[in-house]
């Protein structure tokens, strides 16, 4: 994962990586943060922009089934998120917690909340002011990958760090 982590600093490579990831379930899947949505065709993200954060830092981490433990690969991403957020302090931050569909609705709302809280706590421990951070759980109601197998479920078990406007 370290290899990919370092590559992700280059937006063009990121676009390729995302395209490859999408190929797994191409016809059934939607990636809201796809290259087109991010306007990557138009050139590199300007430093400190939301696009810079999503593309060069990575806005999401993934979890194991029924777990809210921050995995080793996710720690690297969150570490970079904290560094970036501490540099660009104008943003309020909402952390979305999500679950895959292999659980019941109410339990998964709670599980998504727990993932969001674990992500928030990690960022706070890395110096991000708690006053800037808010969490919300979507349970299994907002999948990004839509298919009926594990290739999609693993992408839906996620916490997404989203940037709001002015700080809290």
């Amino acid at each position: 994962m370290r290899g990919i982590a370092s590559l992700t600093r280059n937006p063009i490579v990121v676009a390729l990586v995302m395209a490859l990831a999408v190929a797994g379930c191409a016809s059934k899947k939607n990636t809201p943060n796809s290259a087109a949505d991010l306007g990557l065709g138009g050139g590199a993200a300007s430093p400190g922009s939301a696009q810079d954060f999503t593309v060069n830092v990575g806005d999401r981490i993934f979890f194991d089934t029924d777990s809210s433990v921050i995995r080793a690969d996710a720690q690297g991403i969150l570490g970079r998120q904290a560094q970036w957020l501490n540099q660009y302090r104008q943003y309020a931050i909402v952390i979305e917690g999500h679950a895959d569909e292999r659980g019941t609705r109410e339990y998964n709302l709670a599980l998504g909340a727990r993932r969001a809280a674990a992500t928030r706590d990690f960022l706070i421990a890395r110096g991000v002011a708690s006053s800037r951070l808010r969490t919300i759980s979507y349970g299994k109601e907002r999948p990004v990958a839509v298919c009926d197998d594990i290739s999609c479920w693993s992408q839906n078990r996620r916490a997404v760090t989203t940037l709001g406007g002015a700080g809290a």
Binding site: R105, Y107, A110, S137, E141, V146
Partner: protein
């Protein structure tokens, strides 16, 4: 909601000369719903006499209710020998016995001078040669379907000894649009899928609607404020109200059996969730659980003395029971799998649940001490059972692999008679109303 005036048609109203009718009711026909393998009872439901299409419409609704219950086998009209000309007179029982109609329904629907409908029916035991019951109802024409459901309930009750469940409604989540941007709005319909009406506009996600046992009101969870929280909604007026003023997410609401409290989960700042009850009159909140775990999906016992809920305090989600004050929290599920969405039956003797085991989702029931687990249905993805008010039928939602979205299904407590509930869009989170008033 006194839409209906109801009165019993006595045997005295029947044309004279029917000796059997004067005998005490001595039903030869009855259905033992406790028996595992029920042979559906052959029944003939004749078109209600009317000057227009209304009679046949009412008959059709009654016939569909009885057939879908799995307890009745309505006989095709083409097989009928006698044409009922006068529903007040005794039928020619031999004509019905010869086509093996063990029970016969006759009736009439007319319009009163004030515009109301008058619907009357009689249920006959053809082999005993007597009337089993007869009633008439007055209702607004807008309530035609309800009149038919009430008559079907009366037939069901007379022949099974159990309360019916046809004059009930289902509140559910209507799902439309692609899966990753799905619109989830509250809707309500009759238990047979007719008369769908939307209760929310779909601009924000609404989930887990549950009926009040005593009022035309539901509690549900919505993202409309940005923070997912529990609300109350008056079905008739559309008036909405936030339940409590909590800093974090509130979810998984359900009413207490007296309708005075909402029990729900409240997210703690550390990411765990605990169970709270809120008194709707005094607005006081009582904490029932305090564990470093997910405690959710609380459901009261019908006497209000206990609460069943889901908790992962033991590692994975299991079912626990506690006193309504939070005392004696005891795990009751010990099978091989993950258990969630427990719902106490209206009879008090069983708890329905969702179980994940062997890569499948199952709908099952267990006794309130966790013993006697029985799986009623297994599938790729299904969850969220809700009980019919008589405790004989469960509804849940299922998404078959590759189907793109969930649909509602019902199944008998026996594990038989699975039925799909027709809905225009995908549908999830059904909650069954009490019998309507």
């Amino acid at each position: 909601m006194k839409h209906f005036f109801r009165m019993v048609l006595t045997v005295g109203a029947i044309a004279a000369g029917l000796a059997a009718a004067t005998l005490p009711a001595r039903a030869l026909v009855e259905i033992d719903v406790n028996q595992g393998n029920i042979e559906p009872l052959p029944i003939a439901v004749t078109d209600f006499l009317s000057g227009d299409a209304l009679g046949a419409e009412i008959t059709g609704i009654i016939t569909d209710d009885l057939r879908r219950s799995g307890l009745f086998a309505p006989i095709e009209k083409g097989a009928f020998i006698e044409k009922i000309e006068n529903p007040d007179a005794a039928p020619r029982f031999d004509d019905w016995k010869v086509i093996n109609a063990q029970a016969l329904v006759t009736g009439r629907v007319t319009q009163e001078s004030d515009g109301r409908l008058r619907a009357e029916f009689r249920l006959w035991d053809t082999f005993a040669g007597e009337q089993m019951t007869g009633e008439q109802f007055f209702a607004n024409k807008a309530n035609t379907r309800r009149v038919a459901h009430i008559i079907a309930d009366a037939i069901y009750e007379r022949l099974t000894g159990e309360k019916g469940y046809f004059d009930t409604r289902i509140v559910f989540v209507d799902e439309s649009g692609p899966k990753n941007q799905r619109v989830k709005r509250l809707a309500i319909m009759d238990q047979d899928g007719a008369g769908v009406r939307y209760l929310s506009d779909g601009r924000s996600i609404a989930l887990t609607p549950r009926f009040s046992p005593s009022r035309q009101e539901i509690t549900y969870m919505s993202y409309e404020s940005g923070q997912p929280q529990v609300y109350l909604l008056q079905i008739e007026t559309g008036q909405r109200e936030l339940v409590g003023n909590f800093p974090g997410m509130t979810f998984a609401p359900r009413f207490s059996p007296d309708g005075q409290k909402v029990i729900m989960s409240l997210l703690r700042d550390d990411g765990n969730s605990n169970v709270f009850a809120m008194d709707l009159r005094s607005r006081t909140t009582t904490r029932l659980t305090n564990s470093n775990s997910i405690d959710t999906s609380p459901s009261y016992s019908p006497d209000g003395s206990q609460v069943v809920f889901t908790s992962d305090r033991g590692g994975r989600a299991q079912i626990y029971v506690m006193g309504a004050d939070g005392s004696n929290q005891t795990r009751i599920s010990f099978g091989d799998g993950i258990y969630s969405t427990p719902v106490w039956s209206p009879r008090g003797d069983l708890i329905a649940f969702t179980k994940q085991s062997g890569g499948e989702f199952q709908i099952g029931v267990m006794k309130t001490d966790g013993s006697g687990e029985r799986i009623l249905s297994s599938g790729f993805q299904q969850e969220g059972p809700t009980w019919a008010p008589n405790g004989r039928v469960l509804m849940f939602f299922r998404e078959a692999a590759g189907s793109g979205g969930p649909r509602l299904h019902s199944i008998d407590l026996t594990g038989r008679n699975e039925q799909a509930i027709p809905t225009a869009n995908f549908a999830s989170d059904p909650a069954w109303s009490p019998l309507l008033e």
